[in-house]
């Protein structure tokens, strides 16, 4: 009956697929991308799509294998990963420490929040020229750009997470005679965690973005350098390999956060399911 159909709740995006019917549809979803690949390959083979503009899927695959065997790709990935990791750790730590300072006291909020709100309006990719002037073209400007990009989503989300903790639970903490330290550890931080994790996912997204931009502008190593270098020699296959690696790394880090979410927010699962 149509009324029943309408009344059914909207499917949750992360609901686990159930039953054979779902599996069939999941398989169906691979058809159109595969078809696109085939069309692309044919277009390349017939010369309709010149290699100068975009290499053929098969050529891209074999280039990926070559670059891996030659060690060029693993080295570039290692360099880029290191930049993201260090930048992420530095920026993440800064964002969270500042959020704690602002979230846990009015004085802290007055000291930190206006500055963060002002800086937040800054287009941070526009800072690249300044960063180059200040730090040259070594690792620092790249790592710093990543750190800067990461710190804001973590700051904003953690801060609002802390402020959003249910006041009724704070009252419970008072009646249970929790110390301030215990209140923060048992109520405030876990209460802010869901929002911090949202910030973490946003932060990872912008971390990769910041890295790509920084590496395009000036680099002598890393994935961005590999891509830029390839452009000079019209190697569209290498460029596409580089882009695919970027997206694979982005997806991988996102999956890690999701895993983290699932473990850290287990208390909500029974409720949401």
């Amino acid at each position: 009956m149509s009324v029943v159909e309408l009344a059914r709740p909207v499917e949750k995006p992360r609901a686990t697929p159930k039953g054979p019917r779902r599996r069939v549809t999941a398989w169906h979803r691979w058809l159109s991308p595969l078809a696109l690949l085939v069309v692309w390959q044919i277009a390349s083979a017939t010369g309709l799509l010149p290699e100068r503009l975009l290499a053929a899927p098969a050529a891209i695959a074999s280039t990926a294998v070559e670059l891996t065997q030659a060690g060029t790709l693993p080295t570039a990935i290692g360099v880029s990963l290191q930049r993201v990791l260090i930048g992420f750790l530095v920026g993440g730590a800064a964002g969270i420490v500042l959020a704690l300072a602002a979230g846990l006291s009015r004085a802290g909020e007055n000291a930190v929040d206006p500055i963060m709100q002002a800086l937040r309006a800054l287009p941070f990719f526009g800072l690249i020229p300044l960063f180059i002037l200040w730090f040259g073209i070594g690792e620092e400007p790249k790592i710093l750009l990543v750190a800067l990009a990461v710190s804001f989503p973590l700051y904003l989300n953690t801060f609002s997470g802390i402020r959003g903790v249910d006041g009724k639970l704070a009252e419970v903490a008072t009646t249970l005679k929790l110390s301030r330290g215990q209140l923060i550890r048992h109520i405030v931080l876990p209460g802010a965690l869901p929002q911090t994790l949202v910030g973490l996912r946003q932060a990872l997204g912008v971390a990769w973005l910041a890295l790509i931009v920084a590496e395009q502008v000036n680099a002598t190593t890393g994935l961005g350098y590999m891509i830029n270098d390839a452009r000079e020699f019209l190697r569209t296959d290498v460029i596409v390999v580089g882009l695919l690696v970027y997206s694979a790394l982005g997806l991988a880090t996102d999956a890690i956060v999701r895993l983290l979410e699932r473990r850290a927010l287990a208390w909500r699962r029974g409720f949401l399911a």
Partner: protein, 231 residues
């Protein structure tokens, strides 16, 4: 230390909820607090628990207070047992005992959001009882329980009260519950204690006890309800 309130007042905007209220809760006394919905019972409890910084007047109260709020207010990211032990000095075995007493041993690993309303309410009660305070504030702690569970939990509260002799202030809407459990019944109306009635009948009590039947009529009248008109 007895609990004393004098001239206690609280208003939300123009709405005066507590109006120069005087009250003494004696040590070891079981007091029930009745009053219409919105009469200020929870407001009074919050004041006693030291949770309301805006209340005025003198409140003389022990530090050793435990509260079971009107909503269970369990900490959702702590499993049930961890909720009971939170801020508790006593050993974990005491917390487990407390859960067993409210019939929740098997759920001690459960996340609070997966508990039923009555289960959450019992857990919240256990969390308050296990602290063995000098003053126990219970805000409608039995409202989500079925009739049978309610009788069991009444017994439990009476036993714990007899064992440690805290002063108890129990908010309830149920006149019979007040008559069965309390030494003293208060009615809150117009921001003050409008009625203060002692109950001297021996426990265990029965609803049909002629003394209680008379008191029930008195209390219902005090609440503005005639017994015949009550379904």
């Amino acid at each position: 230390m007895a609990t004393r309130l004098s001239g206690v007042a609280r208003a939300f905007g123009d709405r005066v909820v507590l109006d120069s209220l005087d009250l003494e809760l004696r040590d070891g006394e079981f007091t029930a607090l009745l009053g219409r919905s919105g009469s200020g019972k929870s407001t009074l409890l919050r004041a006693l628990a030291g949770l309301d910084p805006e209340v005025t007047g003198t409140i003389d109260v022990t530090d050793s207070v435990a509260v079971a709020f009107q909503e269970p207010r369990l900490v959702p990211w702590k499993r049930l047992l961890a909720n009971i032990t939170l801020g508790l000095d006593a050993p974990v075995s005491k917390a487990k005992e407390a859960l067993a007493e409210v019939g929740l041993s098997e759920r001690s690993d459960a996340w609070p959001l997966t508990l039923s309303g009555g289960e959450a309410q019992r857990a919240s009660l256990a969390r308050a009882l296990v602290r063995e305070p000098e003053l126990l504030l219970l805000d409608e702690p039995f409202s989500a329980l079925d009739a049978l569970t309610r009788i069991t939990i009444h017994q439990l509260v009476l036993e714990l009260w007899a064992r440690h002799r805290p002063a108890v202030l129990l908010v309830t809407h149920d006149v019979d519950e007040a008559l069965l459990l309390a030494d003293r019944v208060l009615v809150l109306d117009e921001g003050r204690i409008a009625h203060d009635i002692s109950i001297t009948a021996d426990r265990p009590r029965h609803r049909e006890d002629p003394g209680l039947v008379t008191l029930r009529t008195t209390l219902l009248a005090a609440l503005g309800v005639s017994p015949e008109g009550r379904s």
